[in-house]
Amino acid sequence: MTATDTAKPTTASAPRRPVAPPHRRFAQADKARDGSTWLSIGVALVGVALTLGPIIYLILGGFRTQQDLSTNPTGLPDPFMWSNYGDILANDVFWRQALNSLIVATVTTAGIVLLGTMAAYPLARYRFRGREGIFVVFTTGLMFPLTVAVLPLYLLLRDMGLSGLTGLIIPQIAFGLPMTIIILRPFLRALPMELEEAAFMDGVSRIGFFWRMLLPLARPGMVTVGVLAFIQSWNAYLLPLLLLTGDPRGMTLPLGITTFQGQYASATTLIMAYTSLAMIPALVFFLLMERRIVDGLTGAVKG
């Protein structure tokens, strides 16, 4: 049978296209689907196990006693105890750090989205000499990662007297701007030009247009870049590591985890509980926002 001869590679654009009778075609597709479905499920199960296994192990570890973990590291918690989680939640250090992380991530995100949209607006919709030049300056920012600039940045912040959470937020906004502008510029440009013409005919100024029309229309794009900025800030480690030294109450969660780990090096199950607590709210939020994150990442890639 020529139609089922799969030994010979056939491409979609092959000129000769043997057409099997319909019933045959469906039978074949169904058969293929059966086999492939099981393969897909198999691969998916392995992937899910490898992804979730360590995370579940970490969360369960928080319910163990230290002795239970060292004598039987592969088993389930025995005895099952709440005190690791309870102790951490009863202490204000964890809550302070969570609050710090929330403040830093929120203010950073707001700053990046607002300043980024403001900058992207003229770069997308004005015509003036030097526009492309300024845009290129921002895009080079992608080439300057925080890692390269961090030593002099630390000195600069020290000289400017910027410390603590403020010292963290301002450079984070600066480093978040390039990506935001790169994503938002094509987005803003795609809005129809007639909007502006109509608004200007009615005597609205550019600033009025920006506030009253552009910002509402740009909201989907702003949410997308905002979610990316929030994640990046929430997970940030390098800059807090340099800036937020000293009192654990002034730290953000990622730095808090490594500091806690240093303090209670021998209490592994306590560290597991601490890390789990830091992970769960973020994980839930990010998984709810998965669509947005993927949109942002693929948008950034195409942009």
Partner: protein, 352 residues
């Protein structure tokens, strides 16, 4: 060209008298006074672009330029920078071949060149292995998950989870799992294999591979999600056509799906290359590159030199080398590889 294209003839002389002409006048507010309109435009530009540009130049561009400047000095970061000694490209020479002074060459080779070369080698190894291992793996997972099966949506979300977890959480988690007396060791014993003699991370050869495994676990989700997004753009008709032609599943993937998501793959490769060069957080959380630096990266080595040994000149030189490396890779990739995608697109538009 006028300095501001929007000024002059583009501006409509009287409000409401004439509709804005096509071309230059597009998107301009109506104004009676061209000169005032121009001043206004400059003011608006300053208002909209000013804050972003000021922050960007102060906190991103200036520090990068400073790094280039510091790299030419012998400086400990404590004394005033004006007291630092200018030594030209000596820091770079020390990183690459022990410096130009024969008297200190041997000592500097041990102190500077060897650890730098180790960090450099690890970084390049991670860069190459990411492409060789994560690309096929990510592609395979994406192709399999691209098919319809029950629970597909949840599986995608779960596979993506490690990517959104912070490096610190993931690193701490794996540090506990790969503890020499921890669960990974127990599992190896359970299946009758011997765990690395020196401990998962501390072992001179296993350390690197353990870290590479952790990195793959953390970042494979991005590859999968990007490839899936690319695959969702491949028209179903093409796959149906291939199936009708009698192509097997593998043939369909290899000859239809993979070529069609080529642009997505090339972009992922680009992100992966740049990310590998700048890898820091994860490795730092995993014992700062290892007690003997057995899996140090350029970035973790830079931090150790800059902050813990207070050799800011040398640390800055390493930062600049790291920047040059990512810049070279980015430039090469943009010019040689990604340009193909862009010219393809232009051709398609022209043909249409």
């Amino acid at each position: 060209m006028t300095t501001l294209e929007t000024s002059g003839k583009g501006t409509v002389p009287a409000a409401g008298a004439t509709a804005p002409a096509a071309g230059d006048a597009l998107g301009q507010p109506v104004s009676k006074h061209p000169r005032r309109a121009r001043l206004r435009l400059i003011g608006e530009l300053a208002l909209f672009l000013g804050p972003a540009l000021a922050l960007f130049l102060t906190f991103v561009v200036y520090p990068v330029i400073s790094a280039a400047r510091y790299s030419l000095y012998q400086w400990n970061g404590v004394e005033q920078f004006s007291d630092a000694t200018f030594i030209g490209f000596e820091n770079y020479a020390r990183a690459l071949f022990g410096g130009t002074d024969p008297a200190t060459k041997d000592a500097f080779t041990t102190a500077y060149t060897e650890p730098f070369q180790a960090a450099f080698t690890h970084t390049i190894a991670i860069l190459v292995l990411s492409i060789l291992i994560q690309l096929p793996l990510g592609l395979l997972i994406a192709l399999v998950l691209n098919r319809r099966f029950p629970g597909r949506a949840s599986v995608r979300v779960i596979m993506f989870a490690p990517y959104v977890l912070s490096e610190v959480i993931a690193g701490t988690m794996w540090l506990i799992i790969f503890d020499p007396n921890g669960v990974a060791t127990e599992l190896m014993h359970a299946i009758g294999l011997n765990p690395p003699a020196g401990g998962w991370l501390e072992d001179q050869t296993w350390g690197f591979w353990t870290v590479f495994f952790i990195i793959t676990w953390k970042y494979i989700g991005l590859a999968v999600i990007l490839f899936l997004a690319g695959l969702s753009g491949v028209p179903q008709e093409l796959q149906d056509a291939a199936a009708i032609d009698g192509a097997s599943w593998w043939q369909t993937q290899w000859r239809v799906n993979i070529p069609l998501i080529g642009p997505t793959i090339r972009i992922w490769v680009f992100l992966s290359l740049i990310g590998s060069i700048q890898l820091f957080d994860m490795v730092w959380v995993l014992n700062q590159g290892g007690t003997t630096g057995q899996y140090s990266t350029i970035a973790t080595y830079m931090m150790q030199i800059g902050f813990f040994r207070s050799d800011w000149g040398f640390g800055s030189a390493i930062a600049v080398i790291m920047f040059m490396l990512s810049f070279a890779v980015a430039l090469f990739y943009m010019l040689v590889v990604l340009r193909r995608d862009n010219t393809d697109r232009v051709k398609k538009v022209k043909r249409a």
